[in-house]
Symmetry: C2
Subunit: 255 residues, 2 copies
């Protein structure tokens, strides 16, 4: 691990000068650019000003890049789809890249359709891989089938490690990590190959930098979650800014 900037130093550094000196930016979506998929106006100003050198990097595993592009488009921000990196989409891509084409998927209908369009056969039993994403319609039966696929030797790809996130009115929303914990309690996963895709996973940040064509230590991560956004950036020596106390206040100070 090289070029790690201690968090304290980062906090004391002037955000404006850090932004000015950066080659590019990675931005979290929920709680940073948007609240419940409504773009924060102050964040929109930042996105518009830097749209040629940024990527969205989000642990969201229920939406497709097209859905977020539509939201950005309405505010006059044009972002090519490859610069919207979502953990769910990358989990599917990862299974396909590994050649694991028979997948049992815990995920929304939109994500299952995305998997099928990318050439994956979506199966209920005897899968080569279990892809775990946030699924608000998950059933007991689906989790049980996933457990049995894993006992049968399937690899496990988890879209993100988050156990929950806060929704409107600070209400707890169950996340992918909660399903992962349930499966870990049900079956011995010590022998199963498990890969966790989203932030703070190093590969996710590096892929985003590759796409916008910058090196990690010349790119700034902006996010509101210390455990994923900040931890992930720090571990690969990427400067980062904690979006706090609210995205409105944070981005207003940068303008």
């Amino acid at each position: 691990m090289k070029n790690v900037i201690p968090l304290e130093e980062l906090r004391s550094r002037d955000p404006k000068s850090l932004i000015k000196s950066a080659d590019g930016f990675l931005l979290d979506w929920d709680g940073c650019c948007a609240i419940d998929n409504v773009l924060v106006p102050e964040a929109a100003v930042f996105l518009r000003a830097h749209q040629n050198r940024l990527a969205i990097v989000s642990n969201n595993s229920t939406h497709t890049p097209d859905e977020m592009r539509a939201i950005l488009d309405k505010s006059g921000i044009e972002l090519p789809p490859e610069r919207i990196l979502l953990a769910g989409m990358f989990a599917i891509k990862r299974a396909r890249d590994l050649g694991l084409n028979r997948a049992m998927i815990i995920g929304s209908p939109a994500m299952k359709a995305l998997a099928q369009r990318s050439g994956i056969e979506v199966v209920r039993e005897e899968a080569q891989v279990v892809i775990l994403m946030r699924d608000t319609r998950v059933t007991y039966a689906a989790l049980e089938r996933a457990a049995n696929c894993l006992v049968g030797g399937a690899k496990l790809v988890v879209a993100n490690p988050d156990g929950s996130h806060r929704g409107a009115n600070a209400r707890i929303r169950l996340e992918t990590g909660a399903f992962h914990a349930a499966l870990e309690a049900a079956v011995d996963l010590s022998q199963a190959e498990t890969e966790i895709i989203g932030k703070p996973s190093e590969g996710f940040f590096r892929e985003a930098c590759r796409i916008i064509g910058t090196s990690p230590h010349r790119t700034v991560m902006l996010g509101d979650n210390p455990d994923t956004d900040i931890k992930g950036a720090v571990q690969i020596g990427m400067p980062c800014l904690l979006v706090a106390p609210t995205p409105q206040e944070f981005f207003a100070r940068l303008i």
Copy 2:
């Protein structure tokens, strides 16, 4: 911890003499007396011979004692309902004994009805207690409501700690402990009062002994699960026998 008999010593002890010298017996249900709720004939012989001094002690949280009594009745074994101790039923009893009468329940319709008959108000939000049992119809929304009740200060009563059990064809069946793990991943339970009812919990064994009127070190636990049946018995100094390799073979040797 007094009077703990090392497992090795237990294994070498003659099961027949242990049975002969005991004042009473606690028997596990699944994988011991019954397989998928069908009574094992060899176990039935044992149950019939000792029916005046035994209790069933099971981590089952989906059935009521009446359902098991009906199965026993058919084989001519009469067991009063209080001598069938099931973890689900005891989780409900525990909440009621604590005076926590507004409960959010993850559990089967039969168990929710049992809770209501015992004077508990079954609510969806703002519960005083979350009672967690095995529920094959559990939804994402129900787990999310449970998480929010816990964040709101509800106590957590977990029927049993099992993450899974094996059903027919050795298929993994998700158990209560898997839901518990999901909630632990979603919310910080370090501040929540959590009580786990079923085996290996000490109280569950002691209550069974109280009901049949024996002391733990003069009672023998018979069960197939080293983590719950054997561990629970050993920790209170109760002699125990591991029902293996199958209940048929085990009980045939005792007859």
